[in-house]
């Protein structure tokens, strides 16, 4: 067949284009290489403070449960694998299969050296001005695993 037509309404499909992880990775690497790491980090902070402002407001109101709900929804939607350990004062998210890393590996897309800084900075921004702090541990971009810890400041 030499002539084809395809028509789709937005409701015909579910919005999930995982190649966008590769687009973010390219942007992170580009800023890091051409403008330096501090410019990259400033960009990530500006984005996270702006875009995640509603989630940050939920953290202020509801505490760490807002972050837990957010990540449970995101990892379920992207078919990631996480273990969650939570109380009112702490939240530990053990990422066993990061959908972003695994998708970029599968597609052969370049993974920026500082790709995981996006997670660290996002979590730091969510905790800014709240009684909580965050750290990103055991981050392994080769295996797509990490541990995201949040805890109440004493």
């Amino acid at each position: 067949m030499t002539r084809e037509i395809m028509h789709r309404n937005a409701s015909d499909n579910h919005y999930l284009h995982k190649d966008f992880h590769g687009g973010l990775s390219c942007g992170i690497e580009y800023l890091d290489i051409h403008f330096g790491t501090s410019v990259l980090h400033n960009y990530l902070r500006t984005f996270c403070r702006t875009f995640f402002a509603p989630l940050h407001a939920a953290v202020v109101t509801h505490g760490l449960s807002a972050i837990r709900k957010h990540y449970e929804r995101v990892f379920e939607e992207e078919a990631g694998i996480i273990d969650v350990d939570a109380s009112d004062d702490h939240l530990t998210i053990t990422v066993r299969a990061c959908p972003a890393i695994l998708h970029m590996q599968k597609r052969g897309l370049p993974i920026a050296k500082r790709f995981c800084d996006s997670t660290r900075i996002m979590n730091e921004c969510l905790c800014e001005g709240t009684p909580f702090t965050s750290e990103l541990c055991d981050c392994n971009p080769r295996t797509g695993t990490c541990v995201q810890r949040f805890r109440r400041l004493s």
């Binding site: 284009h17 190649d19 959908p99």
Partner: protein, 146 residues
């Protein structure tokens, strides 16, 4: 993790950052780099399948992005069109009350794909007149060889 569903606002913010750093040339330099490094799948499909490569590439991306579109392929005439009735990316940006989109967001679609397709022997036309309402069109035509 920043979800792939949260990428578009991050992309828009990146363009704003680049413009602050070096004006329009800095934004365009990034788009050129992204086209060269990130669109190998489009390039490979068009090299392998000709104009049908456009159909194969956008069949996947536009469905994954849940776009409202009509796409037409005429292999004999060497033509491919996308009528984007509702772009999910621009639509998403316009729907966010707490995010201001990059002023020239839609032009990346003109730069990125043109840079892949023109060197392969295709004319590329991007009509952005409906971009403020999240609609646009793309027309790719195989150039005649003498």
């Amino acid at each position: 993790m920043i979800s792939c569903t949260e990428f578009i606002p991050a992309y828009s913010e990146l363009f704003k950052t680049l413009e602050r750093l070096g004006g329009t040339p800095a934004v365009e330099a990034f788009w050129n780099d992204l086209s060269d490094r990130f669109l190998n799948n489009l390039r490979d499909l068009v090299v392998q399948h000709g104009i049908r490569g456009c159909w194969l590439y956008w069949s996947q991306t536009l469905n994954e992005e849940a776009a409202h579109f009509t796409m037409e392929l005429d292999e004999e005439a060497g033509e491919f069109r996308i009528l984007m009735h509702a772009c999910p990316s621009k639509g998403r940006l316009l729907s966010l009350s707490h995010v201001t989109p990059f002023r020239d967001y839609c032009r990346h679609c003109d730069v990125l794909y043109r840079r892949v397709l023109e060197p392969l022997g295709y004319a590329y036309h991007f009509d952005s007149t409906g971009c403020d309402k999240a609609s646009c069109s793309i027309h790719v035509r195989r150039r005649r060889t003498s």
